[in-house]
Assembly symmetry: D2
Homo-oligomer: 268 residues x 4
Amino acid sequence: MTLRGYTAPLSPDGRAGIVPPPPWHYSGDFLIAEYRTDPNAVAALLPPELGPAEDPGAVAAIFADWQSCSVDLHELEDPIQSQYREFFIVVGAKFNGRPVSRCVYIWVDKDFAMYRGWIQGFPKKLGSIHMTRLFAAGRATPRLEPGARFGATCTANDRQVARMVVTLEHVSKTGPTVNDPPMHNTRHFPAAAGDRPDVFELVRAGGYDRDVTEVWEGSAELRLYDDTLEDLQAIAPREMLRGYRFSFGYTVGGVEVVAQHQQEALMT
Amino acid sequence: MTLRGYTAPLSPDGRAGIVPPPPWHYSGDFLIAEYRTDPNAVAALLPPELGPAEDPGAVAAIFADWQSCSVDLHELEDPIQSQYREFFIVVGAKFNGRPVSRCVYIWVDKDFAMYRGWIQGFPKKLGSIHMTRLFAAGRATPRLEPGARFGATCTANDRQVARMVVTLEHVSKTGPTVNDPPMHNTRHFPAAAGDRPDVFELVRAGGYDRDVTEVWEGSAELRLYDDTLEDLQAIAPREMLRGYRFSFGYTVGGVEVVAQHQQEALMT
Amino acid sequence: MTLRGYTAPLSPDGRAGIVPPPPWHYSGDFLIAEYRTDPNAVAALLPPELGPAEDPGAVAAIFADWQSCSVDLHELEDPIQSQYREFFIVVGAKFNGRPVSRCVYIWVDKDFAMYRGWIQGFPKKLGSIHMTRLFAAGRATPRLEPGARFGATCTANDRQVARMVVTLEHVSKTGPTVNDPPMHNTRHFPAAAGDRPDVFELVRAGGYDRDVTEVWEGSAELRLYDDTLEDLQAIAPREMLRGYRFSFGYTVGGVEVVAQHQQEALMT
Amino acid sequence: MTLRGYTAPLSPDGRAGIVPPPPWHYSGDFLIAEYRTDPNAVAALLPPELGPAEDPGAVAAIFADWQSCSVDLHELEDPIQSQYREFFIVVGAKFNGRPVSRCVYIWVDKDFAMYRGWIQGFPKKLGSIHMTRLFAAGRATPRLEPGARFGATCTANDRQVARMVVTLEHVSKTGPTVNDPPMHNTRHFPAAAGDRPDVFELVRAGGYDRDVTEVWEGSAELRLYDDTLEDLQAIAPREMLRGYRFSFGYTVGGVEVVAQHQQEALMT
């Protein structure tokens, strides 16, 4: 008998792995606040392979409320295997002279999504995340109309991370821009012992069969809190840009390695 | 200065209460499996004021995925104050010769919804609850069409409570029926000391401005587990009836007391 | 057949209630930081029956890590029914000229402890609470010795509530003092409809068979955060007093009603 | 400026990583039930490098309640960074003719412990885990004496995983034996794309400065549930052996690679 699985735990039937094999389908609702922060603080979060973006202090704070599944869709009828929410912070950068984006911090509320993120270069921690939803009946729901307010919060490690409100104004002509260029994250997995990670590579995220609804745009409020384990004050908003709300879906088959990071001593 | 609040904790600004004052708006998605169980087990869960229903073993197992708010809607932009999911078991009964329904067990995943439930006669415990959702983009979502499968699970107190799948067939002509008659629950609050509760009354739930979408109907699968703190095996399915999926909203201003329960010694 | 239970949900076997009947045994570890805040803010949190304490701005911020059970001890072997952690804020006051204490805000991480709190006049909300523990082996534990640091955190409703560190100096001669006088809380349960609560009474907490270890004392650090649903800034520390760490157990059979609160319109 | 960290997220100050650099100190309480299951089911969970143990169906079901920290101990005063509970299943095996053990499934309740586990070859998923504790005061605690009962439960993915009770009889002469030989787990990290994992190696766990209390021994009850994502029925108890309760601490600096697994196509 052979142990099977795309990820551990490997098992005879291959069903025990924390993440099923790709490709994965994703359907989600998004709430985004774009803003400008200190460009030096953004630069300090980039690896040496990436340079500053055209708008070097631009940041996107992104809440997403997801359902995802394997190609056989089996997780959809067992929603604890498919639903999760996340909050992440994306900055702009350049790679080989072309615009890219990069996820610098991210929190999620399920284990399979956390580990699937690490495989793709998203350094996910666990958090509690909430985001206003649309419902098809009753009054306890906003509607997609001017003045509607959508909010979101994130807490992690008994610390408040972020609170956001977007007030819709109109359908957007541009949509969000900071996270638009292809994301270039770092896949990192430590060695069994010692300072040099076994996996430490710059990867480009992709995805296909992209499907997006109308994007609503409006004003954005965002607070990043001061007592987190990550230094979020360094990249806190100095100037708010616009907020966005939309639904989006795509399919992901993996990521593409574009460079090996220099494996210098990072631990000290 | 006066302490204010609809519920404790009372505070000078009245904002600290765990539940804000009614009326409350509700918007939710529902997944229901109706089935028949042992009529004697249903009867054993009714207070003396209620008699058996026409179909005395009929039960509805209900998952609901809610957003709720006060009339000023302020919770909608702070979704941790408005979102919750619950699983509950409803049986049929008669009160004064007329059909009623009654919630015998219920689990929910937020504190404000738990306590607001107790105020209305829903004896809510905490649980982890998940339910398949519809999304507006991508492939990781069912659609409202024949063959679509919606699932749901509930766990509480480190015990598995329920797992349900409904496979849609067509738009329903009748909708669910077990939980249709007015719900007659028991408001119960123990005394500071001793056996006789301070509040122990049969109440009729109401609500107005009801708003419902098309109801989809199909086959239903349901498993209630055997190691719960509540005796769910006594009311486990003997015959599955139909499953339903729809969205529903209404507004609730309180409940109406229809009888005082006899305050006999229940504790022993 | 008769429905049984000290609390709902009532059931034929009486085992389904969210809280089993008293008396209840408690065993816990405590971490306390005493401090002084604005006396007017403390006074604003007292009901009219209570007057200011001798030291009218004194407050105790208390973390507790509990195990509790019924007299037959059955919850001890099913620890999800017995373990919980809580954070609460206690102020001093006077009732009929005698010193008392009062819990103004409290968060807990289990449903049974939350509802049992409401029965006794503790207006508990859910939170995530952590507190340094002692272990009997290894190096990942403080010891009861000068310089040992014990920390604790509380988050609720996606908001950071409190962070505390106590650095032990020596065994205490006095122990904590703010929460020493008998606690006088308010039992409150709303009516089925309308403004006047069904239960609204001042109660004195008791307990017997008190068992306490040596109390260690030291310096205390405490931060209450600024974005909570409750106005914690009003009662934030102006002057830190001492910190304490000890274990404590007792048995509680109920609380004693000492006054009916005036049932004025509190909701508006 | 250089991005720093033992794990991602890398940051200028190196404090953002989900796991701090080794070595790590551990202090924990253990509850273990040993039993025999189908030897073929154990064999089916071993990689080709490992052969059957002397007692080929012997299994240890282990609950652990941990506190851990870096060598500077800073996590101890921020307990959400140090405390976690886990449940794992360990089988016996042989490697190069010598007895070893292997963790086949494991659940944990914190993200840092989950990811630190993956680094060491423990394929951790998230779960809710509870385990009876000892307290220093009061009656709501067992004592280390004959007849004391310690229980534990684990739930994951809205599914019940395990429930255990150990009833103490006497101080053990042998202690538990299944997990005594050095643990040989598999470090596994998928590639950016494709079937061949980037990391797929057999590692031997170590640790030093081991510190253990007296081990109590007694009878053990264990139930593994039937609706998990992992096939736990295959390794369910056929014959219960003994139960154990003790505290244990050690320090871990990493694991040692003893073999590269064959990278055959495991995903299909």
